[in-house]
Each structure stands twice: as C-alpha cells, then as structure tokens.
C-alpha cells in the first residue's frame, strides 16, 4: 500500500482528536501576547519589523512544547489501545512512522500558514503598516517550517519509542529552555547548532538598543541561512537514526520478565503511598535538571554580561530564576501532576482507587506529594545559586531577603500545585494541562505587567521569587489570595472526585 493511502488512514485515525486546536490555541496566545505588549504603542512605520523580530522569539518559547505535545499525541493513540501489536501484522514500523511523519509535516504546514496569517492579523490589530515585502513572510515561513520539522523528527521518534508522553514533552521543555537561553548568549556557531534556537537564529531583523536614549531601533539584516542548513542536516541525521532504530524495534519492549531480585519475606515499605507509586517513574527528574540548566546558563550569561549586570549576587539571582519562575516551574509542576494522575486514569485503576480511599485523602495525598517535590526543587535552586556564586567569586553580601524569597517562593508554589492537581484530575489528557500551565505562566507575567499580581496563582509565584524587581509583597493580599486559591482548588477536586462517575478504560 502506498504512503498516500496510509495517509488517508492516518487522517481517519486522527478524527475527533482535534489536533489542530492546539495550534490554533498557541497562535491565539501569541497574538494576545503581542497585543498585550504593543497595543498602545504609536503606529510606527517599521512596525512590521517589530513583529518579525518578536514573533521568532515568542515561537522559541511556545513552539517546542507545542510540537512535543502534538508529536506525542500522534503516537499516543497507538500506544493507548496497544494498536502497534495489531498494526505490525500488516504494516512495517517504517511505514507507520513515516505516515505519521507526513501527517505531522502537513499539520506543520498548516501551523506555519496560520502563523503567516497571524502576521497580517497582528498588523491590522496593532495598526502597523502591513505593506512589507512578501518575500520576508516567505523566508520566515520556510525557516519556521524547517525548525518545526526538525523538532518533529526528534519528538516523533521519542514518542514512537517511549510509551510515556512525559519523555517527549520533557525533552521539548528542556530543548525550549536551552534554545531560549542560548539566544541571549553572544552569537556563536554553537547557538546555530541548537535546533530549538533556530526560530531566532534564522531571523533577519535585528535590534539596536541605545542605552543613553533608551531608544530601540530595528533594522533589516541579510537573512542568515546557516542555522536552517544545520536544521536540514539534523533532519537527515535524525531520519537515518530513525531508520536504524526502527529496523531493530519490535512490539514488546525487551523482555525483562524476571527482575532477578528475589526477596525472602514480604515486607512493607516505609515511604508514603504516593511516593511508592512514583517508584521508578522519571517524573521528578525535571525538577532537578531544569534548575540545573537554568543555573548553568544563568551563570554563563552573568559572566558574559558583567558590564551591564552590576549588582553582584542580586544580578546572579535574576539570571538564575527569572525565566525559571516565569515559564518553566509551572510547566514542570504540570508534568509532575500529569504523571501522578496518569497512573490512576489509565486502565481500571480508578475503580481500584475509589473503592479503597476517601476522595479527600486521594486529592490531599497527591497534593502533598507535589508540594513536597516542588519545595525540594526550590531548595535545590537556592543551593545551585549559592554554589554558582561562590565558584565565580562574587563580591559583596548575599541579598538580605534571600531566605524570605525562598520561603515565600515555596509557599506560593503550593498554590500552583493545588491548581495543577485540580486541572490534571479533571482533564484526563496528558498534554492539555501542560500547555495550559504554560499559557497560565505567561498570563501570570501579564498580570504582573498590569499590576494585578494577586489575581492568579502563577503571578503570586513570580512575585515571591522576584521581590526586589517587582516590589515587596503585601502580606495580607498574598495570604488571602493564596489561601483562597488553594482551598478552592482542593475543594473542587474533592467534590469532583466524589460526585462524578468513575471512568475507566478510556
């Protein structure tokens, strides 16, 4: 059977999966983000350059997670119903993979087309001149498409090989994080090698910021195709790797029927049940890796920009935590809560759980586990910060409010935990809560920008972690807002669990 016929079968399979809705949501979020930043600006003649400068940067934050989620959803429908067993009897792994790849490529074309459309739309909304040469839109479209395809090659392969969606999404987040940070580093060839950064490194509009006059000037550069060519290289390389791995792949993961460990007696574990359920699960790893990457890149960035960052320990803190608390902590928490609910949502485990435990205890157990791991992660952030500071010999005193920031940070992260425990309970889909957390993280930033920091769980956390920059916390509002969010989320979760019908085998 030809690949085209396979593609039609694939289209049938994806029916009612609403894959493109993720894309629509992301594009809308991007437009909203741009609108929030630029809607009250004077209509400038080079307004379209602002878009060509900013949209790649936003893409660099939004798209990696989107593509990772999309790719993992493409494969998830086969894994969920154990369909590969059946498919392998009348098709080859290569055919299955490349049909999905083709489907993904077509979807990416749609995504890029939507993005190009969003340019015109943004120009209209923001009152910018939309009479720019069409060739720039084409160049932008092609480079974005190439970048997305590279990411798709990575994530589809991961999703094909690992049943757990968290693998693909975690890699997407780590990659996005790396790409985003690498663009603040001085230009180098290494930066161009990172496929996640290509959104920006292939850009052709540069910005000049005059420190004295605080004026921003955008100007056109010659388009730089190096990173796009690197992407092409990545795609070829990944395709070869995929072909190699698919040749070896079988339906069963290598049979490890006997673990080899034999215990003589039946002994109970000491740890809490929720922690026991996480045994062997990689869900918590991101809590330690992402802060480590953030710290490493933040430190390098600090060293590279000593001329601007003159506040010693405090500047280092900003470098370490700014993006972590704005974008990545909510997402890591969402992955974790997704993982802990996923085991219950799968198969008939919910029957088991509901007959054996009170709904309130189930929700609180999950909540406490999430809070615990998040708190440990934030302490890890501080440890990394101190280590980095002492290693690079920063002079001066430690920021006096450090412990205060940490305590408030931990407390406010518990608000996000409560919210995500609720979201992941109700939305049985794994990807959606993560994307939601991501968008909410960004809306948290917006709330801070609009001076309403107590209105979302996410802005509370940003506020607590960056008090010096964003102003001291009003303890009364902070406590009131946190407690309201936590109690409301937990109560709704408990109500939901005890009142709704148990759903299994979906």
């Amino acid at each position: 059977m030809g690949i085209i016929e396979n593609l039609f079968i694939e289209l049938k399979k994806q029916k009612r999966r609403h894959n493109l809705l993720i894309f629509v949501a992301v594009i809308i979020a991007e437009i909203a983000f741009l609108y929030g930043n630029y809607h009250n600006k004077e209509a400038v003649s080079d307004g379209w350059m602002i878009l060509f400068y900013n949209i790649p940067i936003i893409n660099c934050v939004f798209f990696p997670v989107t593509i990772a989620g999309f790719a993992s959803r493409l494969m998830d429908l086969e894994h969920k119903g154990d369909m590969l067993k059946c498919l392998y009897t009348f098709s080859t792994p290569q055919k299955i993979f490349f049909t999905k790849y083709l489907y993904g490529a077509l979807a990416t074309v749609v995504l890029v087309a939507m993005q190009c459309g969003s340019f015109i739309l943004s120009c209209r909304i923001l009152g910018f001149d939309s009479n720019f040469p069409a060739k720039y839109l084409l160049i932008h479209g092609i480079s974005t498409f190439m970048t997305c395809m590279t990411l798709l090659s990575i994530h589809l392969l991961l999703a094909f090989l690992y049943r757990n969606q968290a693998v693909s999404i975690s890699v997407g987040i780590l990659g996005g994080f790396m790409g985003f940070f690498s663009i603040v580093l001085p230009k180098s060839i290494i930066q161009k090698l990172i496929p996640w950064a290509t959104f920006v490194t292939s850009g052709f509009v540069s910005m000049d910021w005059n420190r004295e006059t605080r004026e921003i000037k955008y100007y056109l550069d010659k388009p730089d195709y190096t990173s796009v060519i690197f992407c092409l290289g990545w795609i070829v390389l990944l395709t070869c790797l995929t072909l190699m791995l698919l040749k070896k792949s079988g339906v069963e993961e290598s049979e490890k029927a006997n673990s080899g460990i034999k215990t003589e007696n039946v002994l109970m574990h000491k740890r809490p049940i929720e922690i026991l359920k996480l045994k062997g699960s990689p869900a918590w790893i991101a809590f330690f890796i992402v802060p480590a990457i953030s710290a490493a890149i933040g430190t390098v960035n600090y060293m590279g920009n000593l001329s601007i960052l003159k506040e010693g320990w405090y500047s280092l803190w900003t470098q370490h935590t700014l993006f972590l608390s704005y974008f990545f902590m909510p997402v890591i928490i969402a992955i974790f809560t997704g993982c802990i609910w996923r085991v219950e949502h799968s198969g008939t485990n919910m029957n088991l759980l509901i007959t054996h435990q009170k709904p309130s205890m189930i929700v609180l157990g999950k909540y406490v586990a999430t809070c615990f791991i998040t708190s440990v992660s934030l302490i890890w952030v501080i440890i990394l910060y101190l280590i980095a500071g002492f290693v690079i010999h920063i002079d001066g005193e430690l920021p006096s409010g450090l412990m205060h920031w940490l305590v408030m940070g931990i407390l406010s992260s518990w608000v996000i935990c409560a919210f995500q425990v609720l979201v992941s309970l109700i939305i049985r889909n794994f990807v959606l809560p993560i994307i939601l957390a991501f968008l909410c993280g960004i809306s948290g930033v917006a709330c801070i920008a609009y001076d309403t920091p107590y209105s979302t769980p996410f802005s509370l956390f940003d506020l607590a972690m960056n008090q010096r920059e964003l102003g001291a916390i009003n303890m009364g509002s902070f406590a009131l807002s946190s407690i309201t969010f936590i109690v409301a989320s937990i109560m709704i979760a408990i109500m939901y669990l005890s009142r709704t019908d148990v759903r299994s085998n979906e």
């Binding site: 049979e255 490890k256 029927a257 006997n258 673990s259 460990i261 034999k262 215990t263 007696n265 039946v266 002994l267 109970m268 574990h269 049940i273 026991l276 359920k277 045994k279 062997g280 699960s281 085991v343 198969g347 008939t348 485990n349 919910m350 029957n351 088991l352 759980l353 509901i354 007959t355 054996h356 435990q357 009170k358 709904p359 005890s498 009142r499 709704t500 019908d501 148990v502 299994s504 085998n505």
Partner: protein, 239 residues
Amino acid sequence: MKNYIIETYDLCKKGGRKYRVKNVNLAVPKRCIYGFLGPNGAGKTTTMKLLLGLIQPDGGAVEILGQKMSPKNRFDINMRTGSLIESPGFYGHLTGQENLEIIARYKNLGTSDIKEALDTVQLYDRKDDKVKNYSLGMKQRLGIAMALMGKPELIILDEPTNGLDPAGINEIRNLIKSIPEKYDSTVIISSHLLSEVEQIADYVGIINKGQMIYQGLLSELEIGDASLEEVFLEMTKGA
C-alpha cells in the same frame, strides 16, 4: 434481622438518553454465592459499579451491608468489600507485591494478609516481578488477590476467570466455592461462562438489556432436564 447483604430499589442509570440499567431490584442473601448473568452489554458491570458507588444512580437506591450507599459513606462501606471490576487495575511499574501493599495500606492490613493473598492465587514466586511483565492470567490473579485480601464481608468479582487457563479456572472455581465457609463472606460473581456459574452459584440473577428478568435460587431455575444454558438462551432470546 435482614437476611440480605445487598438490596437495590428500582436502580436506574442512564447512558446518554438510553437506560443502561433500568429498575433493577437486586436482593442478595447473606453468605451465598450469587451468580450474575447476562449477555454482553446487558448492564452487569454498570450494576456492579452502582453497587460499589463508583458511579451515581440516576434513580433508585442501593442498600449494602446495612447502609444506604452515598458518596459520603461510600468509603466506609467499601472498606468492608473487595472487588474486581472490569479488568484488574494495577500499577505496571511496580511489582506484584508492591501493588498488593498499596491496597493493604489503604485497607490497614498487614504483611500476613499480603502473603496469604499471594499464596492464595499462587503468585508468591513472581511477587518481585513488575506487573507490566505479567501475563494476562497473572494480572487477573493479582486482581483477584486484591479483592480477596483481608477477607472482606462482601466480594464482588466481575468475570474473574477472564484469561485464565483451564487449570486456573478450576482453581479459582474451587477457591470461590470455599469462600462463604472459609471467610464467612458473600460473593457476587458475574460471568458469561454458564457452566461455571452452574457449578458454584446458589442464587442467580439474569439481566438483559438493563432489566432483571430472573432472580432466585439456581435450583428453581433448572426445571427438569434443561441446563442453565438452555434456560438462559431461552430467556435472553431476541436480545
């Protein structure tokens, strides 16, 4: 004193516009084995889920172990029951023993209960293997072990012999037969395998298209030479 461990009164559950279960009046006597029969999609599993409070009825009520089932006391009631609904639930990345431990800790049971359950379903040798590497039959045994552990007063088994080999079916059949005496419990078992139910059940309830069409002693159902299979097929004809 009431002699029934479960009674339902005009129990209804809708699925969309249609009734999945309609006006079911179940009465299960204490310390018996109750065979719950019906064709595929008749509403057996739905009824069992209603009994355990896993789903909320759209009409009618369930009285179980002397209490009225509601979201509030669901947990207290279920502490005294053991169940296997649909296929067995399990955490694949944990070992068989750890899976039982999770249930045991929820129910405040001890290591001796885990060991006994493992022995009962003959999984003791494989207790340290991850459940995702178990065969279908072994997963089923694990599910049965979860239901039996701690000798609950009421045991609800939804097609417990799914995926078991002939020897396994025989073994589980003997096990279930011995439960009322050994555990002093009541067993509700649903199955398509009529010959099996015929061998172990005292009472039977037959459900078809969401409605009960027979309930009573098995001995009263089998008139003359007609086997349970013949009676069943006759009753559910035109389903």
